[in-house]
Symmetry: C2
Subunit: 558 residues, 2 copies
């Protein structure tokens, strides 16, 4: 019998690092660990003067990685008699993104330099930082004018959350930080570089997932945006380009081998293979079993809706998608990313901000389950945080209609869930309208495990069975799969990421099937949702879209 092998997946989230030790042959969990970041508010460093700011300190990543790994290895050792750290054949890394941080010439974070110790702009700019909203608009405007093809691959709008917006904003706001920064790296590049001793910018492996989805990297135009384009933003941005990278690679590639120092710190063998990093949602999709024809929905505070498509046939530019990037999810396939900018966040808003009748999610869910579709007369738009796909417009807001003098909180709660389901259906329809057939839907993420009501509504609204990934940690599991693929068969791993998925992934037995009578009513309600969506979203010609915009104009003018 072959030696039993394991992989270590490290999942760098918004508030913590999770570590997972998984059996390379079956994907079964051997041990897990979690370590919350220590700095700021749950690991997020805020600026009381500017609510757009959200930063992280790279030292938090390092410390939590060490702690979570120790926990996971310890648990694996206790769970499985035959487990030893020496059985770990590879390490995979997924992180939030775009979360860039400025580095010096040696690849050391500026945040570790004494002179920038308390400078928020020298830290990592967390994905949800929106301080660069003006620069995002500037980049979008410029690209629309002179490089429209740059935008075609990222949904038509360059976001304030992304790589170049943040760097340009740093240049403007903290020129001393920008000057001191030799280069910038994504968290998903920085961690594998640290583990493999390839922090020096000229040797640092860069991942195509963050590059393609967040930095307009594409082989079609030779990598990152061209110098002329960057120079139009600022000549110093063009100069920076040479100190960034020429080439980005997919997640099944080796980033390098674990250094002696890090082997000691983590308690693992030296020279353990470390895979190139990727963003969490993308490895989450891998962990959930993404393949052509399968849509993976990662449902949390927001959603990511991921698909892949073979590279032989050309993929059209699908309007409203957040990104279409070769190799970004599965090597050898186009990775397609869509998403809803708020799902769980909307339910949390209703419960936390409004606290209706003092009820929490459990009680509201219990009551909402008893309601029949359509019976409340309510209809809502799921735009409390704008709309990512297909409208790609963050300047949209929530709406609820149909209230009477008897409307109950659980009716509103259910209407909000239904609204997110309608939004999900719009995304699936968009994929299919552009020839991306959806044969199955696999859900993952916290809400999909906990909320039967939501999955049943999704099945009824979308009109398809809703499956659930077997792992409750699909991101870390995806990282384990990447580790197994990067390690390769010679190390007891897998020949490819797809092979790793087949061996290590799967879905649960419980599937939510559409209930025919509900499906019928939701088909009618969806027509009405679409009328609202198109009318207020500016797709139709009704002029209703100007109402939302003008409300925001007024709000912002006060």
């Amino acid at each position: 019998m072959a030696r039993k092998t394991y992989a270590l997946g490290l999942d760098f989230g918004t508030n913590s690092v999770r570590a997972l030790v998984a059996d390379v042959q079956t994907g079964r969990e051997a041990g897990t660990g979690i370590s919350e970041y220590k700095k700021g508010k749950q690991g997020i460093i805020l600026d009381s003067q500017n609510t757009h700011v959200a930063r992280q300190h790279p030292r938090d990543w390092i410390n939590s990685m060490q702690e979570a790994t120790k926990q996971a290895l310890g648990q694996a050792g206790r769970n499985i008699k035959t487990f030893f750290p020496e059985n770990i054949i590879g390490i995979g890394v997924d992180t939030t993104g775009s979360t860039p941080l400025p580095l010096d010439k040696k690849g050391k974070p500026l945040a570790e330099h004494p002179e920038f110790k308390n400078n928020l702009d020298a830290m990592a700019w967390l994905w949800k930082d929106h301080s660069a909203y003006a620069e995002a608009r500037e980049i979008t405007d410029l690209a629309q004018k002179i490089r429209p093809h740059y935008l075609d691959k990222c949904g038509g709008v360059y976001s304030s959350e992304w790589f170049f917006s943040k760097i340009l904003h740093c240049l403007r706001k903290s020129p001393q930080v920008f000057r001191a920064a030799h280069t910038w790296a994504e968290c998903s590049d920085y961690i594998p570089a640290v583990l493999t001793g390839r922090q020096a910018p000229e040797t640092m492996p860069r991942n195509i997932c963050a590059a393609g989805h967040k930095a307009m990297y594409n082989d079609m135009w030779g990598g990152l945006p061209d110098e002329k384009f960057l120079a139009r933003l600022d000549p110093r941005m063009a100069e920076l380009k040479a100190r960034l990278y020429q080439k980005a690679v997919p997640v099944n590639k080796l980033a390098g081998l674990l250094t002696g120092q890090w082997a000691k710190r983590l308690g693992l063998p030296e020279r353990t293979p470390v895979a190139v990093g990727a963003m969490d949602a993308h490895l989450g999709a891998v962990g959930a079993g993404i393949r052509p024809g399968t849509l993976v929905k990662i449902i949390g505070t927001s959603t990511c809706d991921m698909m892949v498509a073979g590279m032989r046939k050309e993929i059209p530019d699908i309007p409203g998608l957040c990104g279409i990037v070769p190799h970004s999810i599965l090597p050898g396939y186009h990775g397609l990313e869509a998403g809803q900018s708020a799902v769980g966040d909307i339910f949390n808003w209703f419960v936390s901000c409004l606290s209706p009748c003092g009820m929490g999610h459990t009680e509201l869910t219990r009551l909402a389950k008893k309601l029949k579709p359509g019976k409340s007369g309510l209809l809502a738009l799921d735009w409390n945080n704008g709309n990512r796909t297909v409208l790609a417009d963050h300047r949209l807001t929530g709406l609820i209609m149909g209230q009477t003098l008897h409307t109950r909180p659980e009716e509103i709660y259910r209407a909000l869930i239904e609204a997110t389901a309608f939004g999900a259906k719009i995304i699936i329809n968009r994929f299919e309208e552009y020839g991306m057939k959806v044969n199955q839907v696999i859900n993952c993420g916290g809400i999909s495990e906990k909320n039967d009501l939501l999955l049943q509504i999704y099945a009824d609204v979308i009109g398809r069975p809703m499956k659930i990934a077997s792992s409750s940690q699909t991101c870390a599991l995806g990282a384990c799969m990447a580790a197994a693929a990067a390690a390769g068969t010679k190390n007891g791993g897998h020949p490819s990421l797809v092979a790793a998925q087949k061996a290590m992934g799967g879905t649960r037995d419980k599937v939510f099937h559409p209930i025919p009578e509900n499906k019928k009513i939701y088909r009618r309600l969806f027509q009405l949702y679409r009328d609202l969506h198109d009318g207020f979203g500016g797709v139709g010609k009704t002029g209703f879209s100007k109402i939302m915009k003008e409300l925001l104009d007024i709000k912002e003018s006060i």
Copy 2:
């Protein structure tokens, strides 16, 4: 010095009778009394099988009238040394309406007959009873076809709350009650008839206020709807017409003189003049100081917006108004009634049904006061109970838009108040579009006294000063004015209702003036409100109105 004289106003509300003794020279309150009805739920007799049903027992009226009068006279005697019941020179009566009840040949309520003791259909059909919704549609359809002018005076739609809808429904549902009923009377006719011994149907004085606004009575077509029209509904309705009435008279006329029996029961002199009755909102408008150019807003769970216009110039049929009836408010003037179907009810819904963060009206008002107009980005429609004026469509529902993930309960609360203010402005605009200049707005009713925030928002939105009637019981005060006018100068009263108003009415010193910067923002928000209003209300051609209708269709089909 002339003898000091007083009037007694009796205000028959939904849950109680209020009695007011007021100084005829100054309108000052001498004493008040209130007596809640004893039967049913706060005086409303419900049917657990049919939520549309809302009835009252006429005995409740009689008992509470006696009790409230005793209290008011007692209080007046204690307050004012020179007061004696002999100083009461007249009695005025206002009641809810349309609240018809079936009577036998002698004018005795069928509800007092042993065989109908527990029959809800033999009781008074309270204004808010909606069981006759199908008959209302039938009457509206028929009138549209063969007597469109009947509808022109009552807003284009005959309501399920009104006289003939209720009687026709009784005929269909309880033919034995309909057969036993010699005639039907409004509460506002029944009470003065009882007090003056003119209960016998052939002698019973009928008031033009209820007749004109609720029973399509108009001198233009010779009184009540013609027999042919009624026969098309049912031949028995045409037969009933002869047993109803030929002539209705205004509130400054004498209904008769107090009988000896009732003089004893109330502790008042025999042969005290009793004025013809009227509906509460109409005498409320009188009590608040209505005159040409003055709009009186009675703000409670819903609103009534009342105006009067001289009869010399012809009043156009104003689309969407609830009623345009000669002499219905002030004799010698057209009485015009508009209204919003829910105002306080919407705020109560938000607080009671949603109970956001456990906050009540006081706390929400305190927080909402701190907000700046437009800053929440919210906009709402005030249609949780349909729209009375100007759309005259009860099949409309509430809407709120502009929510983010940070929207707070007090922002929603304020947006709901603003929505009712926008709705109020639409009504004022409609009056003025049809040549009814509004020179001042006087508010009365519970909310206008208690809620400074609301009045300030109304001033800012409507762009005019908001005055408040000095009396907090304008309906009962209006009834006192009617009593003083009906008694006339020879009895120490007033020569006319207008003279009584001048002597006995007034507004408070505190006036809410528009704040210029708020007014500016609300002007922009009102444009958006109007877009929503016209779009969802079906005025525009956007097709959005079908969304609300279809939602209701679905709701009602389940």
